[in-house]
């Protein structure tokens, strides 16, 4: 069984939880094997070297063995380059992790998703505008999951007109509208925003504002009724800074 051992796989820790006396269950996102759970034996011992390694938002290189539900961590190596997240950046990071954990299927290898996640984490470090990082990640995540919104043609197969307004719904092409209102389950956005999204251009504040509404609508459809804890936390923090 040569295949049951995997070496030197780029990975991120999404979440950890205590397991038995001294071990840790580690939810990881790997480049070539997707998202799954590893057991890190002895990782909770007081002097375990893994304590300073198995941290979220840190680029790691993992080796593990075993197949099936629960695999066993063999080694974890530090790849570095990302300071520990703190403050608002940390809450944003939790939001990324919650999205990946809730939406990416287990054991569904997706190097593209890994690349997206990796880029989002590193952009947060580079002090890029958080809103841009998040919208870019949300849109690309939807595309990667196969739920990319239609951004170039309306429901009558006409090209999107930048100066017009559209009603967008999950799984449907944008529909021309003449009002500013949006019925339940739809987002009212400008053609210009749709065109900008199709080009992944988040320069304009209006694009970011409308994209937030649209992407939230689409993600909520996939996430179901249970709210995202990190989003509630962000709301609490925003309320404090006002």
């Amino acid at each position: 069984m040569q295949q049951s051992r995997v070496d030197r796989q780029p990975a991120y820790v999404l979440h950890t939880q205590p397991y038995r006396e001294t071990s840790l269950l580690v939810e990881v996102l790997t480049r070539d094997y997707g998202r799954f759970t590893l057991v890190a034996r002895g990782a909770r011992r007081p002097r375990s070297d893994l304590r300073g390694l198995l941290l979220p938002f840190q680029p790691l290189q993992l080796a593990w063995f075993g197949k099936g539900e629960l695999r066993t961590l063999h080694t974890a190596d530090w790849r570095g380059g990302v300071p520990q997240f703190a403050g608002a950046r940390l809450v944003t990071g939790f939001y990324l992790n919650e999205l990946v954990l809730r939406l990416a299927a287990r054991d569904d290898p997706s190097p593209a998703l890994f690349k997206l996640y990796d880029r989002a984490v590193r952009s947060l470090v580079d002090h890029a505008l958080t809103a841009t990082v998040l919208r870019r990640f949300e849109l690309a995540l939807l595309e990667e999951l196969g739920y990319a919104p239609a951004l170039t043609q309306d429901h009558l197969a006409q090209a999107i007109a930048p100066q017009a307004r559209y009603l967008c719904r999950f799984g449907a092409a944008p529909e021309l509208t003449d009002g500013e209102q949006a019925p339940r389950g739809a987002a009212n956005v400008s053609g210009a925003t749709l065109v900008a999204l199709a080009a992944a251009d988040f320069e304009q504040p209006q694009t970011r504002r409308e994209a937030r509404l649209l992407l939230r609508l689409l993600l909520d459809e996939l996430l179901g009724p249970e709210p995202l804890a990190s989003r509630e936390l962000l709301t609490t923090l925003y309320a404090l800074s006002d």
């Binding site: 390694l53 979220p56 940390l90 936390l233």
Partner: protein, 199 residues
């Protein structure tokens, strides 16, 4: 063959402990009943007494038999500094260090967005009320340096700063007596990122 109901109830009761599954619970039950009846009696009484007598300290929220715990009741301690920790075990560890003579607040938990534990699930209102008593001048946030501890620290800091209080965080870096050669890369990297000016 089926177990008698009271044995089954004991096994089920032992399963509430973290990390104890059906097999371990059964082993514990047999041990208590067969090998160590005196110990079982002691355990039952201790549990009974603890449930009856223990409550949370009115000021710091840690476990106490009196309305005020002995730390909060000690008027020789500095009243103007308040140290926030996650669990009573953290308070005990800080007391062992003999480095701090102020007062404490024990959160009895932490935020953990990935487990669905949000701001409403820990008693932050109580902390705000305690910190805003007019005497406290500095709040030291000593939550763990895990992602969960850090996010808890951030929320506490934002809430208390909004109330106009001075908020500090315990430092992180190389362990005392640590040699660079033997420290883990994560710790060393963070010590480098958080380096300070020597004066």
């Amino acid at each position: 063959m089926k177990n008698p109901p009271s044995l089954d109830q004991l096994i089920a009761a032992l399963k509430v402990l973290p990390g104890v599954g059906p097999k371990s619970a059964q082993r514990m039950a047999f041990h208590l009943l067969q090998r160590d009846k005196a110990g079982a009696d002691k355990l039952a009484r201790a549990l009974d007494r603890a449930l009856l007598n223990l409550r949370h300290c009115e000021r710091c929220h840690t476990f106490s038999e009196t309305p005020l715990c002995n730390v909060c009741a000690d008027d020789k301690r500095r009243q103007e500094v308040l140290c926030v920790v996650e669990m009573p075990a953290d308070l005990l560890m800080l007391e062992q260090t003999r480095c701090y003579d102020g007062l404490y607040f024990v959160l009895m938990g932490r935020l953990s967005p990935m487990d669905g534990v949000g701001p409403k699930d820990i008693d932050l209102e109580r902390l705000i009320a305690r910190a805003c008593d007019g005497v406290v001048a500095e709040v030291i946030v000593a939550t763990n340096f895990t992602a969960e501890g850090e996010v808890t620290a951030h929320l506490i800091a934002e809430m208390l700063k909004a109330q106009g209080l001075k908020v500090t965080r315990i430092a992180r870096g190389m362990p005392v007596g640590g040699e660079l050669e033997y420290v883990d890369p994560g710790t060393l990297a963070q010590a480098m990122y958080e380096r300070r000016t020597l004066s």
